[in-house]
């Protein structure tokens, strides 16, 4: 890392820090790669001052679950830390691979890998979770698919609990969803697609919750997308199960009708649901049942996506659009801006035990500065990398003006 940059003053913006509860116009002072102060004191004369009048100044986003460490896309999206899924080539099922993955984004983006729960993500033998934790894994993940064997899952949770590692689960019954590319419903029937019932998620979530309750492990359900499963999560939290739920903007903003015309960019995992389930997701974001909003950033090549729907790879590029889509939810009244920023930074940072997600003095100077109201149209040809977004062409408000990582301005418009 290069020498510490000049002290910086982000002046006159609306500084929102969900960790400390601060929300108001203030000057944010940065020095020695850390937040040094927050208030209305004028900046010292040797500091570089950036006028943030009319802009929001918030902790850099902590993206809880990406499939690719895409530094440029993260910078464009205001993301300063990303939790990396173990679904890499090869899968992150070995401490050495975890250690390597940890370094891939530095210094621009800090990547915090999750270790694969099982060797090769095959759902059979446990990976070396304890050694991986020492190598820098911030949690354990089942990967893109759930673990079919309840016995393996039970042992995984019991073992991970002894290291206090978060278990991140993809909760869909792997057997029911084996060939499925869509949720059972009118649209999939019309299009003649292989489907699985939406309750494939209910079954898996029920099992994960019961096992988490039995083992005391911290469980994070990366995406909970149905009304039934959300009801189970609410009930489990009420009786003290240590469970958190996440979502990506797609399931909060789109439903199965987006599949019309076989749009392979809308082939996601879990698949898009019916409107009733989407509304349940919105409600769960509003009431805090879903506490983490992540991009699920999973860029795919043209070759992988320009295929017949069922043959196309699932996943979407999401890093560049995460904040703007979140702000769309704020605009729709689903949640307030500080709550959105908490779901995008403070809550995931706390869950995975990361620095950041806070603008308290002494915290790393990871900051995003954005214009809450600046309109733009999602145009994948302006993306840093792959262009597979189901939101192609959607008008949104909210543009990242500066992404600051450890006091360095990495991106500015």
């Amino acid at each position: 890392m290069t020498a510490s940059p000049k002290p910086l003053c982000l002046a006159g913006g609306r500084v929102i820090c969900p960790a400390t509860g601060h929300d108001g116009i203030a000057n944010l002072m940065i020095g020695s790669r850390q937040v040094t102060g927050l208030g209305d004191a004028p900046p010292p004369s040797h500091a570089e001052t950036i006028d943030c009048t009319g802009l929001v100044v918030a902790p850099g986003l902590v993206d809880a679950g990406v499939f690719r460490a895409d530094a440029r896309a993260f910078q464009m999206g205001g993301i300063t830390r990303a939790v990396l899924m173990p679904d890499q080539t090869p899968p992150l099922d070995d401490p050495a691979l975890v250690s390597f993955a940890r370094g891939v984004g530095k210094p621009d983006v800090w990547v915090h890998p999750l270790v694969a729960a099982t060797r090769g993500l095959l759902g059979e033998e446990l990976a070396e979770l304890g050694l991986a934790r020492e190598a820098g894994a911030v949690g354990v993940a089942t990967g893109r698919r759930g673990i079919a064997s309840s016995q393996v899952m039970h042992r995984l949770m019991a073992y991970a609990a002894s290291f206090d590692m978060v278990v991140v689960s993809h909760a869909e019954d792997p057997d029911l969803t084996r060939e499925a590319v869509a949720t059972e419903g009118e649209y999939a029937t019309r299009l003649g697609l292989h489907t699985a019932p939406a309750f494939a998620e209910t079954l898996a979530v029920a099992r994960e919750l019961r096992l988490a309750e039995a083992t005391g492990v911290r469980l994070h359900l990366r995406q909970v997308t149905t009304a039934e499963a959300l009801a189970l999560v609410r009930a489990a939290r009420a009786r003290g199960v240590r469970v958190t739920a996440g979502i990506t903007p797609a399931h909060a903003m789109m439903n199965e009708t987006a599949l019309a015309g076989f749009r392979s960019f809308c082939r996601l995992s879990p698949p898009l649901r019916c409107e009733e389930d989407r509304l349940a997701v919105v409600e769960a974001i509003a009431d805090g049942t879903i506490g983490i909003i992540a991009s699920g950033h999973d860029p795919q090549s043209q070759e992988a996506k320009r295929q017949p729907f069922a043959d196309a790879a699932p996943g979407m590029a999401g890093a560049e659009t995460l904040l703007a889509l979140g702000l769309t939810m704020v605009g729709a009244g689903t949640l307030r801006l500080p709550a959105l920023l908490a779901a995008l930074s403070t809550v995931p940072a706390a869950l995975f035990g990361l620095a950041g997600g806070s603008l308290a003095p002494g915290q790393p100077a990871d900051v995003v500065v954005f214009d809450q109201n600046a309109p733009w149209r999602i145009a994948p040809d302006r993306f840093a990398g792959a262009s597979n977004t189901p939101f192609d062409g959607l008008p949104v408000a909210g543009q990242v003006r500066r992404t600051i990582k450890g006091g360095d301005v990495l991106w500015q418009v």
């Binding site: 009118e186 029937t189 019309r190 489907t195 017949p308």
Partner: protein
């Protein structure tokens, strides 16, 4: 018969284009009068095909490619005969000869075919939506000869033509489609076409082979075959793929025949003048009793094959009118 709905009928005067589509990809994309227009056009070719002298080579000089990425005998043959009978130069590409097997992507194959400058392409593919994907990349008319479980529009048209010629109408009839509806593109196209033209349609299948929300395609679901056949004017049987046993959809073919086979006893529940249809190839003794299949009064199975050629001739003719410079016709995906 057909004239009441004929496109030359004054109801369609005033410059309305009778078939404003570049491709034929799905019944779901068609308006009822467009379906009737194609049926009316096909009707003209039925008698022509039965005549000995066939001199109408209106597609002479045009190149038709039949690209079948999934095995097919009768549909491929039917499209080939339809094209040749109209004078087109027909080239057929079977799955065995395709570079898909050599790892080429579907879109690259599509662009390669397009670069040969064909005038019309007929495509069958095993994935739902694949034909539409290819059509978006080609600048010539594309006919869907079956894509995955999605649609098989010319089969639905030929079935409708068969019914209309036998029964004199479609509107008001009750049609039961029986068998493996879950995996059937034929059923999906037929439900939509027959319901659009005013028939009452029923879906008769065991629960494991019945797609959810089949009502949205206009069909009433029945899991009891006897009830499903009660009073119907037309019974359309679907082929049961024997590999369905592996997926735990069904226990055995004999159990299927016991509860869902079309037998004389079950057929007695239908209207006395019931018409029996099957898209072929039939599994005798699995979904249909041999004697019923061979009954020339009630069975329309061979007639369906005959109507298939006429329907495909009509579709090839209509979709290439734009590029043949027929007055009033534009497009043809030019």
């Amino acid at each position: 018969m057909a004239s009441a709905h004929h496109p030359d009928h004054p109801a369609l005067a005033g410059g309305a284009h009778p078939f404003p589509h570049s491709h034929l990809l799905a019944i779901s994309a068609l308006k009822p009068w467009e379906m009737l227009y194609l049926l009316g056009e096909a009707e003209k070719w039925v008698d022509y095909n039965r005549a000995s002298a066939r001199t109408d080579h209106r597609l002479a000089g045009l190149t038709q490619i039949n690209a079948f990425f999934e095995p097919s005998t009768r549909t491929a043959l039917s499209f080939e005969i339809a094209g040749k009978r109209l004078g087109a130069d027909v080239v057929s590409l079977g799955v065995a000869g395709s570079s898909v097997k050599k790892g080429e992507t579907l879109l690259d194959t599509a662009l390669t075919l397009g670069a040969m400058r064909p005038d019309v392409i007929v495509i069958r593919h095993g994935s739902s939506g694949a034909v539409q994907l290819i059509a978006e990349k080609l600048d010539c008319p594309v006919l869907n000869a079956g894509d995955g479980r999605h649609e098989h529009p010319t089969q639905a048209l030929l079935d409708a033509l068969t019914i209309r010629r036998r029964k004199g109408r479609i509107e008001g009839l009750t049609v039961a489609i029986c068998g493996d509806i879950l995996h059937s593109r034929v059923a999906r196209s037929n439900f939509q076409l027959l319901a659009s033209l005013g028939a009452k349609v029923r879906a008769v299948a065991p629960p494991t082979l019945m797609p959810p929300f089949i009502e949205s395609l206009g069909a009433d679901p029945y899991t009891d075959m006897a009830a499903g056949l009660e009073g119907v004017d037309v019974v359309m049987m679907l082929r049961l793929q024997t590999e369905r046993m592996a997926g735990a959809f069904l226990p055995s073919t004999r159990e299927y025949y016991r509860f869902f086979g079309l037998t004389e006893a079950r057929l007695a529940r239908a209207a006395p003048d019931v018409l029996v249809m099957h898209p072929g190839p039939m599994n005798r003794g699995v979904e249909i009793e041999s004697a019923i299949a061979d009954d020339i009064v009630r069975s329309a199975v061979t007639e369906q094959v005959e109507m298939g050629v006429a329907v495909r001739m009509a579709c090839l003719d209509v979709l290439t009118r734009g590029r043949r410079g027929i007055e009033g016709w534009t497009g043809g995906a030019a």
